[in-house]
């Protein structure tokens, strides 16, 4: 999943960026409101983390502009203090959740995951795909009682498909959402990830969890979609 972080405190950007990348997110960073609004409008973002006190364009204005232009990905706001006036204003402008500084990076990642789950229509962090169980919070996958080891990119691909159940997802879309904007993308790699995922999730070929729609893309099998 691809996250846009709009934050002007470079130390915070550095430490949060590291933690978010470790947690498996593709990350775009903007350090002012105007740049952030551009990124939010132009890039295929799955979630934005926006600080309310930003140079050039305030966080509130960025949120309003994004919502006016029909961008409906979840937005998490960071407020400097436990200040309800700011929180309410941010949520009214179109944000979905808030986090007050200072916060633990774990808290931020938990909120981000919860927002992404909500946006994907999953109320609880555990998602069941037939015999396969995904724990979206812990980023672990089981087949029955046996845990399946996935690489970071394999997990990202699976996660994106789970967040868009029943939808056809193209290779381009997948690569856009698992890689950052300036990454060197190769859509053939996606095919490799899909192949490996199929073998790991469904070693005996009975489940066919990921359908290929020729020339169009992939879809989480309707029969097992949560």
């Amino acid at each position: 999943m691809r996250i846009l972080l709009i934050e002007d405190d470079l130390r915070l950007v550095e430490s949060l960026g590291e933690r978010l990348r470790e947690a498996g997110f593709a990350l775009d960073v903007s350090t002012d409101g105007a740049e952030g609004l551009y990124a939010g409008e132009e890039f295929p973002i799955d979630l934005a983390i926006i600080d309310l006190g930003l140079p050039k364009l305030s966080g509130l204005d960025v949120i309003r502009a994004l919502r006016e232009r029909g961008r409906d990905f979840p937005i998490l706001i960071l407020t400097a203090r436990s200040d309800w006036q700011d929180k309410v204003a941010g949520l009214e402008a179109g944000a979905d959740d808030y986090l007050t500084k200072p916060f633990q990076p774990e808290e931020l990642i938990a909120r981000v995951n919860a927002l992404l789950r909500r946006a994907g229509g999953h109320a609880r962090p555990k998602v069941e795909l037939g015999p396969v169980t995904l724990d979206l919070a812990a980023q672990r996958v089981w087949r029955g009682d046996e845990e399946i080891e996935l690489t970071s990119y394999e997990y990202k691909v699976l996660n994106y498909l789970v967040m868009h159940p029943g939808e056809v997802v193209t290779k381009t879309e997948l690569s856009e959402h698992i890689y950052e904007e300036d990454a060197d993308r190769d859509s053939n790699v996606i095919e490799v990830f899909i192949g490996r995922l199929r073998r790991k999730l469904d070693p005996d070929g009975s489940l066919n969890p990921i359908e290929t729609l020729r020339g169009r893309g992939y879809r989480l099998a309707v029969g097992i979609a949560p």
Binding site: S82, D83, W84, Q85, V88, D97
Partner: protein, 448 residues
């Protein structure tokens, strides 16, 4: 340069008004008096004419005599100021008083006519003249003109004596009025001087507040000054307490960090992390609240329902997975006398806990607390159907400087912020069990 005192202003304004008004009165009374005096004189002169006519004897040839014993002895005394002349066709008689005096030129007056003339233009005299036709025995009419002259100085003497008395008494009246006004103003302004003295006493530390027994007009002033003083005092105390407790509380985690650093050179991850967490929490709860000014003494009231609904809508969004049913029964007319951000902070923290811990229901109620005071108080009650807060936990939460939850995000932090705010407003916080099954937190802001 300070502007003139209120009393001096009032007196300065009164003096020209008084002078003008009393001057007009004096002039009117003086003119009226002179008219009365002249009219009386005319009557007297007419009487004199009749007396002279009564004393006249006219012979058949028209010669006449005037008997010498007049009622008015002044006619006999030369230069007395009262002179009479009787002018016949051939003959003329003048009173002895006119001896040696030059007479003005006077025309004859037709029989039956009277003429009254005043100075100037009459040689300094008031002149009353009466024309009469005397019927002789042969039937012929003998014309006479009786003229009475009175020296103008007589009236001048009378009126100037009156005028002197008049102006003297008016001046006295003006003096009494100005003096009385000064005394009245002194009395009227005495409470203001008392306010000034009381404020001085407060400044010098001899008193803590203004008294309650000022006149009605000054009551709002005294009330607001007292409120201002109370707010300032509570703000000072709050800041001092918060900073004291912050300084004290930071010592322990800092000591932990130092101990760890000195023990093994590199910081021991977990304990440093815990200490840093605690410091962050302290800064969030104590330092930030202390720096924020709470109660604006003369703030305009804010409607309660609107901000509460905004918070509820925001929290519905944040906790959209929970399907919480929020029942807000606040009246439109309910007001909070303070800053809107403080109201949002109160409602935000309490409702955040309610949404976080409630299972499916949250209830917000409130009422105005009315008293004789101009600004009613507010009771805001927030309930949920969550697990509630244990009795001993409640007691701990209500104690100063104790947080209810070790985690930063919990009932504890929100309630700690709420309690700081409630303290700043001189209010009370009450935690008990709701009939919904969870916690019921009531904030009471007293009337002020």
């Amino acid at each position: 340069m300070p502007s003139a005192s209120l009393r001096n202003r009032a007196i300065l304004a009164a003096v020209p008004v008084l002078a003008f008004a009393l001057g007009l009165v004096g002039m009117a009374v003086d003119a009226a008096n002179e008219r009365v005096a002249v009219a009386a004189l005319r009557d007297r002169m007419e009487t004199t004419v009749y007396a002279v006519l009564a004393a006249m004897e006219v012979a058949d040839d028209g010669a006449f005599t005037v008997a010498g014993d007049f009622a008015d002895p002044r006619l006999l005394q030369p230069g007395s100021g009262l002179y009479v002349e009787v002018q016949g066709a051939r003959d003329r008689w003048r009173s002895p008083s006119s001896l040696g005096r030059a007479w003005p030129e006077l025309d004859a007056v037709m029989a039956g006519q009277t003429v009254f003339a005043e100075p100037p233009g009459t040689g300094g005299h008031y002149v009353f003249r009466y024309g009469i036709g005397w019927q002789r025995e042969d039937g012929a009419i003998e014309p006479f003109t009786v003229s009475v002259l009175v020296d103008a100085a007589e009236i001048a003497r009378q009126t100037s004596a009156f005028r002197q008395g008049l102006w003297l008494s008016l001046l006295l009246a003006a003096g009494i009025l100005v003096f009385a006004q000064g005394v009245i103003l002194l009395w009227v302004f005495r409470p203001l001087r008392r306010v000034a003295q009381d404020v001085e006493r407060i400044e010098s530390g001899q008193a803590e507040r203004l008294a309650d027994d000022y006149p009605r007009e000054l009551e709002p002033l005294a009330r607001n000054v007292n409120r201002l003083l109370a707010t300032e005092k509570s703000n000072q105390e709050r800041i001092r307490n918060a900073l004291d407790s912050l300084a004290h509380s930071l010592k322990t985690p800092l000591a932990v960090i130092r101990a760890n650093l000195s023990r093994d050179g590199a910081a021991s991850g977990d304990s440093v992390q815990d200490a840093v967490d605690e410091m962050q929490h302290l800064v969030a709860t104590r330092l930030e609240r202390a720096g924020r000014s709470a109660r604006r003494t003369l703030a305009a009231p804010v409607a309660v329902r609107g901000p509460v609904l905004r918070v509820v809508r925001s929290l519905h969004k944040v906790h959209s997975q929970k399907m919480i049913e929020a029942d807000v029964t606040l009246d439109e007319s309910l007001r909070f006398y303070g800053e809107e951000r403080d109201l949002l902070e109160l409602a935000g923290n309490l409702l955040d806990n309610a949404f976080k811990y409630g299972r499916s229901r949250v209830r917000v109620g409130g009422r105005a607390i009315r008293s004789k005071s101009a600004r009613p108080g507010l009771e805001l009650v927030i309930e949920d159907d969550g697990p509630g807060i244990d009795a001993d936990q409640r007691e701990r939460l209500l104690q100063r400087g104790v947080r209810g939850d070790e985690r930063v995000e919990g009932h504890g932090l929100g309630l700690a912020i709420v309690r700081e705010l409630v303290d700043a407003y001189g209010g009370a916080l009450d935690i008990r069990e709701s009939d919904l099954g969870g916690a019921r937190v009531a904030v009471t802001i007293p009337p002020g």
